[in-house]
């Protein structure tokens, strides 16, 4: 097992009270596997992965549980050792590539600097490696692109540059947080291909965070659906999309308008909106919006069952 997260809890102390951003999340990741994490804003998908990366530095945050990477416990690891792990072993790409690139240096300089921070090689060698990497992420003219500044590149090119940076040390684990959300579908298709290629050439494991069910269904081997800080359903892509078990997953899939075939007169919408993490219901967080709720849903938080395809739903457990 490459990555094993057990009962991860992240909470933030705020002026308005304690926010339980992550409330008991567990998952495993094998080498060469692509895990899709789906959820809406506030579902905790980003925070859980930031915790894995050791990037939650907020003094008001409390992180509990266990995150084991290749058998090594990451929770409580000194910042220095975490920093060594990040970049060398684990890399992350974000939604907005501009947050990962500095506007004042060229693309080539930035990627070379990143390589030299982790590997003891000469500047010339690092630059040669940058050119290779940019070619690998399909820059049509890598040598020329190296002398460009981020603002001179299009959004898709910037995201490619960030991916090149993330790949520079052949990471065993790549965490991608909505990397295609800001991009056009035509550009997105290319980035998804790139992620697939990375898996097949380097056997890297990928955690791909997105809110787009379509992207997950095209890319992921396994899928984890999150709602209000908890995992509500997990399973293989085929199992989850052909037979979703949690009412939230079903409703979410149902509310996406189809691209082909019969057009529904009205979309089956989910009433209400996601709950505030400050005022979570006592029972199931999806309860107030759920079409199949019953009394027991208000009393206890349903646990995620075991097995490869499981849903955290009392109704499902009954069936």
């Amino acid at each position: 097992m490459m990555l094993s997260v057990r009962d991860l809890r992240v909470s933030f102390r705020t002026e308005d009270g304690l926010v339980r951003a992550i409330d008991g999340v567990s998952f495993d990741l094998e080498e060469g596997e692509i895990l899709g994490v789906v959820g809406e804003s506030g579902s905790g998908k980003t925070v859980s992965l930031l915790a894995v990366m050791g990037l939650i530095t907020d003094p008001n945050a409390t992180i509990e549980g266990s995150i084991r990477y290749k058998g090594r416990e990451l929770v409580g690891l000194p910042a220095r050792e975490l920093r060594h792990l990040r970049g060398n072993e684990i890399a992350m790409i974000f939604q907005d590539p501009m947050t990962a690139l500095t506007p004042v240096y060229t693309i080539g300089w930035q990627i070379a600097e990143q390589i030299r921070a982790h590997q003891n090689i000469s500047k010339a060698k690092a630059l040669a490696r940058v050119e290779e990497l940019l070619a690998e992420v399909n820059f049509p003219n890598p040598r020329e692109a190296m002398s460009r500044y981020p603002h001179q590149l299009s959004g898709g090119m910037r995201q490619r540059a960030v991916i090149a940076m993330a790949l520079s040390c052949n990471p065993a684990l790549l965490v991608a947080d909505e990397p295609t959300t800001a991009l056009d579908v035509t550009v997105q298709a290319g980035i998804l291909d790139l992620v697939r290629k990375l898996r097949s050439t380097h056997n890297s494991a990928v955690v791909f965070i997105t809110h787009d069910m379509g992207v997950v269904s095209e890319l992921a081997d396994r899928v984890m659906v999150m709602y209000a800080g908890r995992v509500v359903e997990r399973g293989s892509r085929a199992a989850l999309f052909s037979g979703p078990r949690h009412p939230y997953t079903r409703a979410l899939l149902g509310s996406i308008p189809p691209l082909t075939g019969e057009k529904p007169h009205r979309l089956p919408a989910i009433p209400g909106s996601p709950p505030s993490l400050l005022r979570l219901p006592q029972g199931c967080a999806f309860g107030p919006r759920c079409p199949v709720r019953f009394e027991a849903c208000e009393a206890e938080k349903p646990a995620l069952g075991s097995g490869p395809h499981a849903a955290a739903c009392l109704r499902e457990a009954q069936a």
Partner: protein
């Protein structure tokens, strides 16, 4: 009487060779003054009661076109007709009576609503400006509007930040329909919303259209949402419309190679394994509108481009099923 007859039967909005150019830079900048052809020779017809979906990649000019259509931007060249009346060059003063019939809903409701004013006030504002209703009549109308868009009556005294994204967009919609407009331009109205909330707003817009007899121009980058709401589709590339036609036809059998690539790139949920669709991958990025390619603007990325495409710009040709395609080699 004959006058009102033509009004109801003719198109509600029509553009003829509409152009919008922006000048950027000054004569002192490195490249000198340059011109961006943001909207380039667009001729569209919007019929009463329909929804025209505008799609295309970012930077294709769909938002600029939308803003030209409601005259938020001045039009550089061409003609814009609203109910047969030329409003291309009308002054702001002359446009004012028209404004109440032409409204717009923006993408980010948190940016388009003044954070320091109560939402009741925000919805009342167009009524205060455009009507002579008394304040009690305005209050009554605001309450009615809140009910129509699915907000609670006691929400009127709240501020925008107290609402969720979906509710804020409902406020934006209430504002847009306050004056009983005929045409509403919706610029990415659901893009900023959570997936589970998008369907609610899409349904609300469909209900309003039916109830209030509205005509929509709907812009979104999410093609499945556009398909759901639109009767007709116009696909834009680098400022021009490359394909236009009934939504069902354009989605099921796109004729322009760009529409084909765009539609094939949308990731869809496959419930049956192995049912993967053929994807047309486009190489390269959208060229800069500052320096558009010669001939067909799409030719550098087009999988079927020929020599002719490099030199000769294709004109829109009409086809039997109401489609117009600007391509030398359309698949139709």
């Amino acid at each position: 009487m004959s006058d009102t007859m033509t009004k109801t039967e003719g198109p509600i909005l029509e553009t003829r060779s509409l152009m919008k150019r922006f000048s950027i830079g000054t004569r002192f900048s490195a490249e000198g003054r340059r011109t961006v052809h943001a909207v380039d020779n667009v001729s569209l017809t919007v019929r009463r009661g329909e929804t025209l979906g505008l799609v295309g990649e970012s930077g294709c000019g769909k938002s600029t076109l939308a803003r030209c259509l409601v005259r938020l931007y001045d039009i550089t060249d061409g003609t814009l007709l609203f109910e047969g009346e030329d409003i291309t060059g009308k002054s702001l003063r002359e446009l004012r009576p028209m404004r109440r019939r032409l409204q717009m809903v923006f993408q980010d409701p948190s940016a388009s609503l003044n954070p320091r004013r109560r939402v009741g006030d925000l919805v009342a504002e167009p009524l205060r400006i455009h009507t002579r209703l008394s304040s009690s009549e305005i209050d009554k109308r605001v309450a009615e509007l809140f009910d129509i868009v699915g907000l609670l009556p006691d929400h009127v005294t709240r501020y925008p930040h107290e609402f969720s994204g979906g509710q804020r967009q409902r406020v934006g919609i209430a504002r847009a329909i306050a004056l009983n407009p005929d045409l509403v331009v919706l610029d990415e109205p659901v893009s900023a919303l959570d997936v589970s909330v998008q369907a609610q707003i899409v349904n609300l817009l469909a209900d309003l259209q039916e109830k209030l007899n509205l005509t929509y121009i709907f812009i979104a980058h999410d093609l499945s949402v556009v398909r759901q709401v639109s009767t007709r589709i116009a696909v834009m590339y680098l400022g021009s419309v490359v394909e236009e036609g009934p939504a069902e036809e354009v989605f099921s059998a796109p004729a322009h190679p760009y529409s084909q690539a765009l539609i094939s790139a949308v990731p869809v949920v496959e419930t049956t394994p192995g049912g993967s669709r053929r994807r047309i991958l486009l190489t390269g990025d959208v060229p800069s509108p500052l320096n558009p390619p010669s001939g067909c603007r799409f030719h550098p990325r087009c999988p079927i481009a020929q020599d002719r495409c490099r030199t000769e710009r294709p004109q829109a040709q009409s086809f039997g099923d109401g489609r117009k395609v600007a391509c030398h080699f359309p698949t139709i």
